[in-house]
Symmetry: C2
Subunit: 132 residues, 2 copies
């Protein structure tokens, strides 16, 4: 018996995941941040584009967002005669990304054990209830 009547529920917000910062919780930016966290020396535009499979405009826009949020900074220079921009995590960026990842880990720990268990036959819906 799953003692789940209705008044004993102190678990409001149990799955609200407020630590999932919207700036970071976005597929493309997640890839950019992961790329950068593995490269303390930074990465240039073209490399990020290749690693994350993003279009130019797309990558540019996401890098703007990350810079405005103070998570990433940029350095202009040139290599092989071509202008290049080197992007690196800020200290704050690293810290906030770590916090985000720890919340993600929470999600996985909340859900994956239940989800990957062999799909037990779902309990029946109470009699008299109609689909859709």
């Amino acid at each position: 018996m799953t003692r789940r009547r209705k008044a004993d529920e102190a678990d409001a917000g149990r799955y609200a995941y407020e630590g999932l910062d919207r700036v970071l919780h976005e597929k493309a930016r997640l890839g950019i941040m992961t790329s950068l966290v593995t490269r303390p020396e930074g990465a240039v535009f073209t490399e990020l584009k290749r690693l994350c499979l993003l279009t130019d405009g797309n990558l540019s826009r996401h890098l703007d967002v990350l810079q405005e949020a103070g998570l990433v900074d940029a350095w202009r220079g040139s290599e092989g005669g071509r202008p290049q921009t080197l992007y690196r995590l800020t200290a704050d960026g690293r810290a906030r990304f770590t916090a985000y990842l720890e919340e993600l880990e929470h999600v996985v720990r909340d859900a994956l054990p239940k989800a990957s268990r062999r799909p037990e036959r779902s309990p029946d819906v109470p009699p008299g209830w109609q689909p859709a």
Copy 2:
């Protein structure tokens, strides 16, 4: 020496994370799915609202999306004289959510070890490069 010249890079798309299904990679729906995966018997609207701290309209909309994607199904009935709708994961929903979570786990494993290591002094930017 980080043998990272320019031609040996077979890691295109290394951080593209294409397995992060957009329907699932959304804070609110992630919470809903996690709520449901821990409740094989399903959950009613009000319970989901409380668990995920969502407004009525917001929750309704996200549940629509999840149903249209075939991840969740709904059963109408009544309890205590009030109409209620019970939401449950479909088998497909459970499977796709598991796949999504495994990709998330990848992200965490890619990034968290690097991110949480004590912020080593970042290597200097090459001479001649300018901020911003």
